[in-house]
C-alpha cells in the first residue's frame, strides 16, 4: 500500500512542472498578473510608511541636522561622525548593555506571567474566567501615561499606598522609603509597570492558541493517564509554541524601544541610572535638536535589534508559509 503511494508521488508533482514548460506566451496573462496587482497596494504602503522613513533615517544619520539646518534647509554631510561620536562614548555602551539586559528580563517575565494566566484561564469556570478577562482588558485599555501616573502614586515616597501598606503590615522601615533612589530599583518599578500593560495582550494571544487545541486531545491524554504537567507538555505546548515565538519577537521589539514609561517615571534618573537607549536617543538627539545624532542612535538600535532577533528572522526565512515552530 505505502509502496504504491510512494511510487505515485513523483508522478503527482509532474503536471505543474510540465505546465511551466508549456506556452511561454501566456506569461503575462491576467491570471498571472492579478496576484501581483493585488499585492501592489500593500507593498506600496510598506515602502511609503516603512521604507521611506528608514531611508530618511539613514540619510539623516550621516548629516549634521540641527535646528539651523532644519530651518534653512541646508544639507551638511558629516560622514560617519555621528556614529563615531556615539560609539566612542563609554556611556553608550553602559546604556546599551543595560537596555539589552532589561529587555531580556522583561520579555521573559512577560511571557512567564502571561503563560500562567493563559493556562489558568483555560481551567477556570466561565464566570471566573470572564472576570479575569475583563480585568485584563481593563488593564490593557488604560492609556500608558495614565497607568504610569497611577504607578508613580503607588510608589510615591510620602503618599504612596505601597509604603503605607507595608508600614501597616509591620515593615516600618518603609515609611518614607524611596523606590527611585537607585537605578536598579527604578528599573524594577518600570519593569512592573510594563509587565502590567504587556501581559494582557500576550495572555490573550496564548489563550487563543490554547483554546484552538481540540478538547479530545486533552481527553485522550487524560485516558492515557497523563498528569497536568505531562498534558501541558504533550498537548498544549506544541499548540502554542509558534504563537509564543511570535509574541516573544513582538515583546522584544516593544520593550527594547519603550520610551514613554521610562521617561515619565524618572527621565532615566537617578543620575542617569535607568537610562535606556531610547532615552539616550532623546537626550542626545531630540532634547538638543541634534537630529543627526538621534538618527545615528536609531540606526544603531535597529542593528542591535536585528542582531537580537536574528534567530526569529532566520526561522521566518526557513519555514514555509510563515509557519513558525
Amino acid at each position: 500500500m505505502t509502496a504504491t503511494k510512494d511510487a505515485l508521488l513523483p508522478a503527482g508533482t509532474t503536471p505543474p512542472a510540465s505546465a511551466r514548460v508549456g506556452p511561454a506566451k501566456r506569461r503575462w496573462s491576467a491570471e498571472r498578473i492579478t496576484p501581483y496587482v493585488l499585492l501592489l497596494p500593500a507593498v506600496a504602503a510598506v515602502l511609503v510608511l516603512l521604507g521611506w522613513p528608514t531611508v530618511q533615517m539613514l540619510g539623516i544619520s550621516v548629516r549634521q541636522l540641527d535646528l539651523r539646518e532644519l530651518v534653512t534647509g541646508k544639507t551638511v554631510w558629516v560622514g560617519l561622525k555621528n556614529y563615531t561620536d556615539v560609539l566612542t562614548d563609554p556611556e553608550f555602551w553602559t546604556v546599551a548593555v543595560r537596555t539589552v539586559g532589561f529587555t531580556a528580563l522583561l520579555v521573559a517575565a512577560t511571557l512567564l506571567v502571561a503563560l500562567l494566566i493563559a493556562v489558568l484561564m483555560r481551567h477556570l469556570n466561565p464566570v471566573l474566567r470572564i472576570c479575569v478577562q475583563v480585568s485584563l482588558v481593563l488593564a490593557w485599555a488604560v492609556p500608558v501615561i495614565a497607568t504610569t501616573t497611577v504607578f508613580q502614586w503607588i510608589f510615591d515616597q510620602q503618599y504612596g499606598i505601597l509604603n503605607k501598606t507595608l508600614d501597616r503590615l509591620g515593615f516600618h522601615s518603609f515609611i518614607g522609603y524611596s523606590w527611585f533612589s537607585t537605578g536598579t530599583s527604578t528599573l524594577v518599578v518600570i519593569g512592573l509597570l510594563v509587565l502590567w500593560q504587556a501581559v494582557p495582550f500576550v495572555a490573550f494571544t496564548l489563550y487563543a492558541g490554547l483554546i484552538g487545541v481540540p478538547r479530545e486531545q486533552y481527553e485522550a491524554a487524560g485516558i492515557d493517564g497523563a498528569g497536568p504537567w505531562q498534558t501541558f507538555r504533550a498537548v498544549s505546548w506544541p499548540a502554542i509554541r509558534p504563537i509564543l515565538t511570535m509574541v516573544t519577537f513582538l515583546s522584544v521589539l516593544w520593550d527594547f524601544n519603550m520610551f514613554g514609561q521610562v521617561w515619565a517615571i524618572r527621565q532615566g534618573g537617578p543620575d542617569g541610572a535607568s537610562t535606556t537607549l531610547a532615552i539616550l536617543q532623546y537626550l542626545k538627539g531630540i532634547a538638543g535638536s541634534h537630529f543627526g545624532s538621534a538618527a545615528a542612535i536609531a540606526t544603531i538600535m535597529l542593528v542591535l535589534l536585528l542582531a537580537v532577533t536574528a534567530r526569529y528572522v532566520q526561522l521566518l526565512v526557513r519555514t514555509k508559509d510563515g509557519e513558525i515552530t
Binding site: L50, P53, L67, R68, L70, N257, T275, A287, V317
Partner: protein, 430 residues
Amino acid sequence: MKRWLKLAAGAAAITLATAGCAGSGGGDDASGSGGGQGSTLTVWLMTGSAPDSLTTALDKEFEAAHPGVKVDFQIQQWNGIQQKLTTALASDTPPDVIEVGNTQTPAFASQGVLADLSGDVQSLNGAQWLAGLKASGEYEGKTYGVPFYAASREVVYRKDMFEQAGITKPPASNQEWLDAIAKLKAKFGSDPEFQPLYLPGQNWYALLSFIWDNGGDIAKAEGPNFKSTLDSAGAKAGLDFYKQLVAASGTTAPKDNDEANPQQAGIYGGGKVAMFVGTPSELPTAAETDPGITAKTGAFPIPSRTAGKSAPVFLGGSNLVVPVNSKNTDLAKDYLKLLTSAKYMTQLAAAGAVPGTSTDVSALSKDPLGAVMAQTSKNGRAVPASPKWGEVESGQNPLKDMLTAYLTGKKNLDQATADANTALDKIIGG
C-alpha cells in the same frame, strides 16, 4: 529570491518600531507653499503668562489700529514646548510672535532661527528692559529676544505660625532662618506631620540662590564657551547650606524630586507646613485646598549669609521673539511695540509678574508677596547664556542629580560636586 523577500519582510517588521523614533526628525525639506497673506498675525503665548483681560484688550487694540489684520491668538502649554517650537520654527509659515522661556532663548538665537531685533530695541522701550532677562535675549552682540516678564523665588510663610512660635520678624540671615526653623519645630514638632520648611531635594532654583550667595556660580564664560564651576568653594558652600536646611527642618519632601512633583503649594495648603521656597503665583494652588490660607500667608526674600542682605535670586521668565521665517515681521514688531508699552506692562505687573520692559513695579508691590518679588528681582540673575543650556533643563539636569546624591548621602560633597561638574561640562562645556 523568495528568501530575500522574507528576509526583507522580517527586517521591515523590526524597522516598524525603530523608524517611529527617527521619523519625527524627518520633515527637513522647506517646500515652498502659500499662506502668510499678511492678513493674519499668529501669536503664541504660554499658559498663565498674561491674564485673559490683557490679551483680549491687546488684540482688540491691535486689530483696530491695523484694519484688515486679524490676530490669531493661541495659548501653549509648557509641557513639550521645546519640540513644538522646533517644529513650528522649522515650518514655512511659523507663528509671528512667540513667547520663549528665557533659558531656552539662547539656543534658538544661536541657531539663527530668530529675527534680529537689534534695530528695534529703542522703539520697544529698550531703556527700561529688565537686566536679568535682557542678557538672555542677546547672542553675539545682537538682540533676538524682548523681555516679557519674570518671576523669582522667595520664602512664602505662615504668619500665624511664626507668631505662635514667637518669631517677631522674618529671618534676615541664614542663621536667623535656621533659628526660626528650630523655634517652629519646638512649638509644633509634637505633630509628626508638621514641617517647618517644605524643601524637596531637587529645588535647584533655591540652590542657585545659595550658590550665588556664597560667591559661587554654575559656570563661567571663557570666550564663546562655558566652563562649569560647580566644584568651586562657593558652589560647595551653597550645596552644603541646602543640606543644613533640609536637616534642620526634617522635611519629609522627596529627596529625589522637585518642587512640582508633587506640587509643593498643594502640600503647603494642607496646613502642616510653615514655609516653602517658591513664587507668588503658586499661592492660588494652595488656596484650592484651603481658601483661608491666603490671608495667613506672607513672604520674605531668601536670606543671605550676610545679615541684613538677601540672596541673589534666579530670574525665571520669558522673552518675546519673532521667527526668522515669519512673513509678517513688520506687523509682529508693531504688535511687540504695543505689548511692551507701559499700559500693558502695568496690567502684567498687576497680575503678579515682574514686567520685562517697564521699571514701574508699583502695581506689583500692592500685593505683599509681589512686593517682595519686586524688591528681590533687582538682584536677579540668570543661568549661563549658553545655547546648550536648554539641554540641561530638557534632559537630565546635573544640578538635580547632584542635590539628590548629596542629600541622600550617596555621595559626599566633593564627589557630588565633581560629578555634577563633569556632567554639566559634557553638556555646556566646549
